[in-house]
Symmetry: C2
Subunit: 344 residues, 2 copies
């Protein structure tokens, strides 16, 4: 910790200027071109060993770090892969996926950056991304229309990949088929003889792009049957769950799909506290197959979700970048399978 005699008013020790390749060149007694050759190990040009050393020493002495912006400006492209940072609490599933993806893209020599577009909406956000001239953009959820894709491509993005419920014109799509999740759950409950089915819809903002398709999936699964579907808005808080549980008998439901395992845990606890027996009186099923479901009693039935591997997605991105003209691929990912445990 440097002990700076803090004078009033900010600013005294003129922040030393950041060293440039010109500084390195000067110190090494060579030209900027030579510096560039040496530091980039350019193979198409031979530089004598003594010169190399001098350059390296000068660079180290000055603490020289190249300027990425200048470099990519000159190069006319970057290897930047951009994804908006999620602004809602992401589950362990998603964070693992992101990590894996970053790792895989890193291996392919891309630089992955999560851009915090909190507060920006739609077009604004898209423009902000485009300003960074990413070579590829990965967009989870909705929030990107065909015109957004156009803006990105128009600004040099060679690949736009959406991870969402439905494809967007012009973009590659990883279809996370959340409807299938709901469909699985709905069918499962119906198969087990349940006919008055509730579906939890989180009140939390940002989850709509998951919860609505899941809801629709249940609706579809029940379509043409005698079963009824009741939407159950629920905030992720004990009091909200308690209120819902208190009115449970009136609702007259014999099963509930709880959006995911966390909401299921919340609701199940409230129901049990209310004396409602699971699964006898009401079957409960969650989704995401989180650890906590296995730890509950009764063990929580759930819909297991198979996310695409980060490696696969990284390869899709790479393929798309190498051949931007290729037709957008649309992959159905996210295999949904019911894991039947004790709560349903």
């Amino acid at each position: 910790m440097v002990q700076i005699p803090k004078t009033p008013g900010p600013s005294s020790p003129a922040p030393r200027p950041v060293p440039t390749s010109a500084d390195v060149a000067r110190l090494a007694g060579v030209s900027r071109a030579t510096v560039s050759y040496v530091l980039n190990n350019t193979t198409s040009v031979r530089i004598s060993e003594p010169t190399r050393r001098r350059v390296h020493e000068a660079a180290k002495e000055l603490g020289y770090v190249p300027h990425a912006a200048a470099r990519s400006l000159r190069a006319g492209h970057s290897r930047l892969v951009l994804m908006p940072a999620p602004d809602f609490p992401v589950g362990p599933l998603y964070s693992r996926f992101i990590s894996e993806l970053q790792w895989a893209l890193g291996r392919l020599d891309y630089t992955v950056v999560q851009f915090g577009s909190v507060g920006l909406h739609g077009d604004e956000a898209v423009r902000a991304w485009a300003e960074l001239r990413p070579v590829a953009v990965l967009v989870p959820g909705a929030g990107l229309g065909p015109q957004g894709v156009e803006v990105l491509k128009g600004s040099g993005a060679r690949a736009v990949v959406t991870l969402g419920s439905e494809p967007v014109d012009g973009a590659h799509a990883l279809l996370m088929d959340h409807e299938a999740v709901g469909h699985c759950a709905g069918s499962h409950l119906h198969d087990r003889g349940r006919r008055r089915i509730g579906v939890v819809v989180p009140r939390e903002h940002g989850l709509e792009s998951f919860s609505l398709p899941r809801l629709k999936g249940v609706r579809d699964a029940l379509h043409g049957t005698t079963a009824t579907l009741t939407e159950l808005p629920l905030a992720y808080a004990e009091d909200s769950a308690a209120r819902l549980a208190a009115s449970w008998r009136d609702l007259d439901l014999d099963a509930v799909f709880a959006y995911n395992d966390e909401y299921a845990m919340l609701l199940m606890r409230a129901l049990q506290d209310e004396g409602v027996r699971v699964p006898e009186e009401v079957a409960v099923i969650g989704a995401d197959d989180l650890m906590l479901g296995r730890l509950l009693r009764p063990r929580l039935s759930t819909v297991h979700i198979e996310l695409p591997s980060g490696r696969d997605l990284a390869e899709l991105v790479d393929r798309a970048v190498r051949d931007p003209a290729a037709a957008p691929e649309t992959h159905k990912v996210l295999g949904a399978t019911v894991i039947h445990r004790d709560s349903s």
Copy 2:
């Protein structure tokens, strides 16, 4: 981008070149300077209304988006705040914190970016960050030494803030006092008459910078008492917990601090399955005060953690950026308080 007649391979629609301000100028029939003035609403210069319109129309027609790199290159600085993307599964606490921070920094007109440095280590990672010439860098956990701070500052970063257990020379520090968390838990257990205390240490990688200080905190709390401390390595998986529970009677412990609520839930379930009664035979306390702890039976005692508000941290960053010469601030954040429920 020049249209290279690329032989076979897919690729036909030569990717149209990205429009520049020069293109806009040409189309609008004005100079690049004028384009810049208009699009940036430069106040120090008057541009006639008709000209403004022509420029705006041309920009829209071409789908012009300015080039952030070129802009900040010219400007000599950016408003980029960089933080490494966590490469371990983050809890809800941390994700909320990040979101809030991004929002707050966004309000102050910074651009927040999480940089995926997965795979890069120490100096490499620091250099990669420095290449982006961020105006500020926020580094959680360890993994940044004084020399790293020097590299960042030497490359123009006006503020380096660490969020960790201990301060780093030259950087502002938000001291997340995880030792205090352990200390709280340890004291609490001791106060309640427990003397043979186990401490869960997650086997998962990336958690050391939290788990080790927490462990040390317990050790300190117990120092000078007659109580014993036993480290309990535990992976976040049922079988690992089952093994630990199976050997429980041999361990002869009457209390355990389970690192956090999730590990506590895992362990508590395994213990209960093994017939070990909580809290009669063994008191259990977690940390982080997650929702799930309130939903368990017995309700889980926990250490509540008060993270700094995103707004406060954003203001610290802003202050530091405006006055880089000021002495690094060191803040103890993260108030730890025991929430006594039924498991201890």
